[in-house]
Amino acid sequence: MTASAPSPRRDGSTAPGARMLADLLTNHLDPGYAAASRRRDREGPPPPLERRTLRTAAVLAALVIGVVLAIAYEQAVARAPEAARTRAALARDVDQRSERTDRLQRSAETLREQVAQDRADALAGDSSGAAAVTTLRELEAVTGLGRVAGPGVLVRLADGPPPKDPVTGEPTSEADLGRIQDRDLQDVVNALWASGAEAISINGQRLAATSAIRSAGGAVLVDFRPVGSPYSLRAIGNPDLLPKRFDGSAAARRFRGYEQQYGMSFSAERDDRLELPAAPAPELAYARPVAPERTAAPTPSARGGGSSTRTPTTPVPSATGGRP
């Protein structure tokens, strides 16, 4: 004991962790087998009854091991397609719902057109009615609820190429700096408004006063509808001033920087014939229209129809027209 104590300390190999690691790396077989074999050599084989019991137990254990391995195999095989199936089902769900949304959106648009047409027909009878229709159309155009056309600027944006591994050329999982985010679109839209745009659409989605551009996961949503690269923003405004002003805006300058830095593409061109769809009508859950004062006409343009003699009747059609 006293003689052997210094030796492990001298070579230092028997630090507690090292011993354990060496054991782990060299003695793979359960030491029990060697011990049992020594015991058998010393005491002879166990009595037949015990041997048979042990043999049965070993067979049972082997059986259990086989079943466990088979279950694990089954599970591994069953789980992979299940994940893929779930994914496919979710994707199908999303497709179906967005298709349905598109269909409903289209039908809402046609119905709205029809309502506008019917209203125009119903009000066409007298001059005050015609004036009310004109007012309504103008209001709809301003608020984004009606289709509009006119000259303006067409801004095109597209994501840069995804980051690639410099060695293998495979796409990497690094942060994709060349991707256009919701904030980028917000900046461009704000720059367009600031440059004097009167109506803006993103990939055919008209922006109204309450429109939101935000992101969920990796997707950019405009009014909760996903939009994707390439983005085309159409803005109607003074065709001489709007493109020029937008070109000088901070957002445009920044995007030209991004173009060189991250490979995004960016262009803004004057376009003399832009057509913008209507935005989905916002649902008023709590706000109710207030009936206008009897003496005040709804808007200045309604008064311009030469119907000053009939002022008391003017508010009525526009009030009923605004309610549904």
Partner: protein, 110 residues
């Protein structure tokens, strides 16, 4: 030999009957597989070394599975289940590799 036969029968049984694992036991399945493989390779090697013993085989398998399950269970309760599972897999994996290498030497003499 009978044990090897039983192993094959067990695999066939498992594949044919497709017994379902209760959900609470599912996290232990991978660990049980690794522990079972360790027992199997240990048993085969001991057999080739000529020192196979039924009792050691049974006890090593049962205790391996139980201890591995206990470690994972405790780890889950303590919030380090993943790390402890990794530890179990590493230790048993090294043993499986070592035993497989010994079996290879026995079979191929290389």
């Amino acid at each position: 030999m009978i044990a090897a036969l039983a192993l094959a029968v067990g695999i066939v049984l498992g594949l044919v009957l497709e017994p379902s694992v209760p959900a609470p036991l599912q996290p232990y399945l991978p660990i049980a597989v690794v522990a079972a493989l360790d027992a199997v390779f240990g048993g085969i090697r001991a057999r080739l070394d000529g020192i196979f013993d039924d009792k050691v085989f049974v006890v090593s398998f049962v205790s391996n599975v139980l201890i591995a399950a206990l470690i994972v269970f405790l780890g889950d309760k303590l919030g380090v289940g993943g790390q402890l599972s990794t530890g179990v897999v590493v230790v048993l994996g090294i043993r499986i590799f070592g035993n497989a290498a010994a079996i290879r030497r026995h079979v191929f003499h290389a």
